[in-house]
Amino acid sequence: MSPLVLTLPVALLAGAWLAAWIDRLAPALWGGRAAGPLAPLRDGAALLARPNATTEAPDRLTRWLAPGTYLVLAAAGLSVVPLAPGVAAVDSPVGIVVWGACEALTVVAVFLHGWSPNSPFPLIGAYRYTAIGLPVMLPSMFVLIAAALPAESLSLIAVVEAQREVWNLVRQPIGLPLFLIVGLTLTLRGPFDFADGADIAGGTSAEESGPGRALWQLARLTMLTAFSAMAATAFLGGPLGPGLPAPMWLALKTVAVMLLTILACHALARTVPSRMLHLLWVAALPLSFLHLALAGWVAL
């Protein structure tokens, strides 16, 4: 572990603020009013100035454990991303596996968030998310393994090095779209927000207010930052690029993926959970198999 770990909180907070602002700019695409850069801070203050809501007989431990875990998973996921060629905050030889573990444990964090208030709608959101989470995590593993194949290594530093000539986006064009599904699910967004939908009154967040809700929203935004950086590393060559300093390239590519994810979140409709489950098992999973097979064939 290097002192670069200290940059993680700054990167996560800056990313969270930027993502929250882009979210508030999105209405302009549909003729609405775009908010200024201070809007996320105002909304955050509006949450922090309110008390935590209480329900009858909540699970007090998991209530704080859920957003705390979510936040830590985002930080752990970001820690293995190379900031420059050969340099990462945590130089793990199995960085892709570390990120995969963060993805899988996110399902647990979201489930605990719905479980803790002891209330029907949050619990429905929790179970729905778990049902969707499993078939999303499986393609994610195939996509990430495919991204690691050209490098013949599970280290993200090696994955970046293997993209010096050509980005994985070019070698494996459907990898990034499949990975976007994972990103939308991990951050509870748009077409894959089955945990906090409007039909269940905000789902796992229905009984939340005050600092608890603020922490949950922050955790979602930091996970979006971590996901965007991971996608930029696995498919867009991470910090590689001419002219600018390497971390700047990583930041630019991260913001590009973030924009794409937020656009998909606001532009795409969410279907009912049973139909989405069907689509994931019948279409996304075989597609990711095919993707891995093609990537393997190309790598050979």
Binding site: R33, L38, Y127, I200
Partner: protein, 296 residues
Amino acid sequence: MTLLRRLAASAPPPVYPCIGPGMLDPVERLFASGCARRALSPASAGVLLIAGVVPDRAAAAIDRLHDQVPPPRRTVGWSGADEPSNSLHDAWSGVLSGDGAEPDRLPDEPPNEWRGKGDHGHGGEGMMGGTPYGRPMAMTGEDPRDGLQLDRYTMRVGPFAPMLPPGLELEVTLQGDLIAAARVLQPPFPQEDTASAPPACAARMLRLLGLPHHADRLLRGGRVRAGVLCAVPKGLGAAMPGRDARARLRRWLDGEPGAAQAPEFGALITGLEWHEAILMLNSWSPEALRRAAEAA
């Protein structure tokens, strides 16, 4: 703290609306204007908005919702005659400063006494079921799809649930999010014709599909492309082929009015998953649902 409060005061106030007869359209336009944020649950609100004159049958529900807004809280009444954004912002400032906070309306105690029946004195069987202290507990029952014995949980939704038309009260028995049984307890409140206009109805469905910006665009008089239709499952709530929820949304997006009366929907939502049932109910206008509920 002062800086935090000043920042918070400039944010749109989080408001949970209790919408009375004839007030659905004005309230939806109020939130679409952006002067306040519609809270999806009372716990996430700071201000309770009572829009219009709420009938007596719903008064107890308002008291319960009031107490679920975390204190300090404020209540704002709105008749629809004036522009409410100033009073909402004043109430929000009051919430943030904590001045003149409203006390609980109901005593902080269980709605019923412990029932002294059943194996453990809670009214159920074994460790399950019953309504101890008035709280329904899950009890195993046959799953309508595969015949397994799964937990059933009965709850009441409405009259001010954000995903249903105001006034509608349902008693649903859920197995997971599958509706195993449903009963309509009270019909929706009557609303003006504007609440059943095609853009208003389509906007409600779009919000349930996770597209609030598209919905606001419709309310501002804009158009939304038909690509969103594929998110609504085919055949949902079909009285006959080609007359399903997707077709109804298509007609609304084309600016055509929907049916004047829905079919008897209590039986129709039984066997559906919650999200499907809510989408299906919102594929009829509030007035069509009210006529159906009153005819039944």
